[in-house]
């Protein structure tokens, strides 16, 4: 469980990134943190594993104050996948890369091997196990970074902009993957701009603007609220835009993905047909 109590954060250069944020993320929740550039999303999640310590207020991970334990200690529980995989890849082979964190945490060599195989297999990377991470494509490097974090099986998984530079197919795979991890009981926090991706996942959404949380609720409510999305400078999913325009016809407007849209439209048309008959 992540508890953020009235947290302020100011960077050393004077930028006030968070102005009194409070938030509770329960175990096995799936949360997307959204908002425009500079809203404080990345700052907020960096507080979760202690990379940043709040200037004021406190962050508790399973009741432990992040101020009192080291990043390495928190990292066991909170896995953080950075936006740019190139900021972490350095080993000669993909296999070594996935083993890096496990060795840092002091796992036994046998366990390390088992976990690495498991993580690489999970992300379709087994064929690249002996390849250099630098020779892989951007999307593959991103997956290696993800595998290297999943390898130690953290209870909470934080993904910073996981969809950037991924094609549609990879995105869809990633989505299924995240949903699956979440179903297995992992807490998943995704920081993203990708509104279509979030709409497909339909998690709880925390909307941020100027260092504050401006909205917190289920995806159907938030992404279909015109005022809110404007305030946070995001564009609603295309399907939502259509349904917002069709409001006058008496169609329901809380639609965020195509499957729901299809169903709603069929029901509506069927209703119309019945009326005519």
């Amino acid at each position: 469980m992540i508890e953020v109590n009235n947290v302020f954060f100011t960077y050393p250069n004077g930028v006030e990134a968070l102005n009194g944020v409070s938030l509770t993320i329960r175990n096995s929740e799936f949360v997307a943190i959204m908002g425009q550039n500079g809203a404080g999303k990345t700052t907020l999640v960096k507080l979760f594993n202690g990379l940043l310590k709040p200037t004021k207020g406190e962050v508790l991970i399973d009741g432990v104050n992040t101020r009192e334990v080291s990043v390495a200690n928190l990292a066991r529980k909170v896995g953080f996948v950075f936006q740019n995989a190139d900021h972490q890849l350095f080993c000669e082979t993909v296999k070594e890369e996935a083993a890096f964190a496990l060795r840092n945490f002091g796992f036994k060599e046998r366990t390390v091997r088992k976990r690495v195989n498991w993580a690489l297999n999970l992300l379709d990377l087994t064929e690249y196990r002996q390849a250099s991470p630098f020779m892989l494509s951007g999307g593959e490097r991103k997956r290696v970074a993800l595998a290297s974090v999943l390898a130690w099986n953290p209870k909470i998984l934080i993904l910073d902009e996981p969809t950037i530079g991924q094609d549609h197919q990879q995105k869809e795979k990633l989505r299924q993957f995240i949903v699956q991890l979440n179903a297995q009981g992992k807490t998943v926090v995704v920081v993203t701009h990708d509104v279509e991706f979030v709409a497909e996942c339909a998690p709880r959404i925390v909307l941020m603007a100027q260092g504050n949380i401006v909205a917190d609720g289920i995806a159907e409510e938030i992404l279909t609220d015109r005022d809110l999305v404007t305030k946070a400078s995001i564009v609603p999913p295309q399907i939502t835009q259509i349904f917002l325009e069709l409001e006058d016809l008496g169609l329901p407007n809380k639609v965020i993905n195509v499957h729901d849209g299809e169903r709603v439209l069929f029901n509506f048309l069927e209703g119309q047909l019945h009326e005519r008959v």
Binding site: N13, L51, A75, F82, D86, H87, Q88, F100, A101
Partner: protein, 273 residues
């Protein structure tokens, strides 16, 4: 990394920012020369304080304090090294003869180490003022107008321009590796040095990658297409520039005079040994 913040130019306007970079560079060189000339504490302290009005006029005190804080670790190391070496090789300090037994000799060693530390601090200070108040563009302009080949000017400004970017990137990489359980401060000396490998490799790889991208971007914008480049802005010396030249030369001349003819008191004189 905070030490880099102390060298990063921020767009602002002040009399110091308006000065011709060439003149400011002359000033930095004079400070540099004077700092190297003397190995007594008093002149170096003087040199340290002389620059404070500049910093206040430029309004960069916050950044300056940050650069000083960043330099303090290194300054401490320099102090400690000097102290230890002067202690074991006292012959290098005038007035000290082994074995070291009188308080006077301890004061002399202490003063020598402090002097060396202040020499370093003065150098950091003047360079920090220079870079804090000079935009990379104006710097490049100054180099070009001093007939330095454009390729070199460009390489120089690019290097300066990318220092903060690299510092920022190093911080991000450090965060990414710490998030994977890397503990930089753990283990003995060899282990600690090794701990930096996961940070240096991505940093270097990304720097090389970035330089290739930069080269491609430059090529695609016709870099070097014309032999003779013209500039929108041309640097011109103003009254303030001439006054600073005068002041710098005055400082240099009086420093040389003092160096040759004025006996400079040491700490021991004031402590009445």
């Amino acid at each position: 990394m905070s030490v880099f913040e102390g060298f990063k130019f921020r767009s602002a306007s002040s009399p110091v920012h308006q000065l011709d970079p060439r003149v400011k560079f002359l000033y930095v060189c004079v400070v540099f020369a004077v700092a190297v000339m003397f190995n007594k504490l008093l002149p170096l302290l003087l040199l340290f304080f002389i620059q404070i009005p500049f910093i206040l006029v430029a309004g960069v005190q916050r950044e300056w304090i940050r650069s000083m804080k960043g330099a303090s670790v290194l300054a401490f190391i320099i102090f400690a090294m000097n102290f230890v070496f002067s202690y074991f090789m006292p012959a290098s300090v005038p007035g000290v003869k082994p074995p070291i037994d009188t308080p006077l000799e301890y004061v002399l060693i202490f003063e020598r180490s402090l002097t060396m530390t202040f020499r370093f601090i003065v150098l950091v200070e003047s360079f920090s003022v220079f870079f804090l108040t000079t935009s990379p563009d104006r710097l490049s302009l100054a180099l070009e107008q001093s007939h330095v080949p454009y390729e070199l000017c460009f390489a120089f400004t690019t290097a300066v321009r990318f220092v903060p970017v690299l510092a920022q990137e190093a911080q991000t990489i450090m965060d990414a590796q710490r998030a994977r359980g890397l503990e930089l401060e753990r283990g003995n000396f060899v282990k600690r040095v090794k701990n930096y490998v996961p940070i240096l490799i991505p940093l270097i790889v990304n720097a090389i990658r970035r330089s290739l991208e930069l080269a491609e971007a430059m090529e695609s914008r016709a870099w070097g297409a014309s032999e003779k480049r013209t500039n929108l802005y041309v640097l011109k010396m103003k009254k303030a520039d001439y006054s600073l030249i005068f002041l710098s030369l005055l400082m240099l001349v009086s420093a040389i005079y003092a160096w040759l003819f004025v006996p400079i008191p040491s700490l021991t004189t004031f402590l009445s040994f």
